[in-house]
């Protein structure tokens, strides 16, 4: 996402002063980002549409609360994340995810099955309805904070520090959640991806 330049900070000042056209420009500038992030978190078009609307309404109403000390995108991401998470039932898988910190025992036959190589079919060819369903099912099982960290770090390319600010977690908590999310998702896709 392109960050706001100094000139665009004037845009925010104008919105704070009640300039409707400035708000419209801001929406045009950030709507793809909001839409993409909302869809990746919600995994559902209708919920992503609601989150898009709720997010920009929040921005419109709460722009005075943005003090410019953090990046505008950090503030915006945290609003989208909050709105998406409000629409998602919280699940508790924490203890299972913590168990993923231990390396698998390569000599155990059950683990051998888990470590089998994934097939080499080009991923573009695999991206069919069944795989999409599997990808959605797997990510929806993650607790909200894990899902947010995975999407922000691995899909949106935000830094660990920025992800920590958006999610209000420590940087080390971001790192452990990212690691466990990757392993958990890999496990969930394993059977689908092995020949």
């Amino acid at each position: 996402m392109k960050e706001l330049s100094d000139i665009d900070h004037q845009l925010i000042a104008k919105i704070k002063a009640g300039d409707e056209r400035a708000f419209s420009t801001l929406v045009q500038h950030y709507e793809q980002t909001v839409w993409g992030f909302a869809f990746k978190l919600c995994r559902d078009k209708e919920k992503a549409e609601e989150s898009y609307q709720d997010t920009f309404i929040n921005v419109y109403r709460k722009i005075d609360q943005f003090d410019g000390r953090s990046k505008f995108s950090t503030w915006l991401y945290s609003i989208v994340a909050h709105n998406c998470m409000m629409k998602h039932r919280k699940r508790k898988l924490d203890s299972l995810l913590e168990s993923l910190d231990d390396a698998p025992d390569g000599d155990d036959p059950q683990t051998q099955k888990q470590l089998a190589s994934w097939n080499d079919t080009p991923i573009e060819k695999l991206m069919n309805g069944e795989l999409k369903e599997q990808l959605n099912h797997a990510i929806q099982q993650l607790p909200d904070d894990y899902k947010m960290v995975f999407v922000l770090r691995d899909l949106e390319g935000r830094t660990a520090e920025e992800t920590a600010k958006i999610t209000k977690l420590s940087v080390s908590a971001v790192k452990s959640r990212l690691r466990r999310s990757r392993i958990f998702l890999r496990q969930q896709l394993h059977e689908f991806m092995t020949p």
């Binding site: 709507e31 839409w35 470590l115 991923i123 999409k132 990757r182 896709l189």
Partner: protein
């Protein structure tokens, strides 16, 4: 499948596990990374694990995001307008 090598100078699978899961795309040029690279050359299990972790992220990155719905922006501005009119009415009373 190749067997694990547990020579004293080589890292064990459990030693590289956390590093692999944390750094999928790291440039393997420091001393510790060189050791991990050595381990990966010898260990099919860890190579398969790293490959599948990378593919997992790749699959999610390539999951297509639908296009922004055509009327979404005009609907947003309509909702904001209704909200403003409501609050004007309330402030008059």
């Amino acid at each position: 499948m190749k067997h694990h090598h547990h020579h004293s100078h080589m890292l064990s699978c459990s030693e590289v596990y956390t590093h692999l899961c944390d750094n999928l795309d790291s440039q393997l040029d420091t001393e510790s990374c060189r050791k991990i690279k050595e381990h990966l050359k010898e260990c099919d299990n860890c190579s398969a694990l790293l490959d599948s972790l990378k593919k997992t992220v790749y699959l999610y990155r390539n999951y297509p995001t639908p296009a922004l719905p055509a009327n979404i922006r005009s609907e947003l501005f309509a909702v904001i307008k209704i909200g403003k009119e409501k609050s004007k009415k309330l402030s008059r009373h």
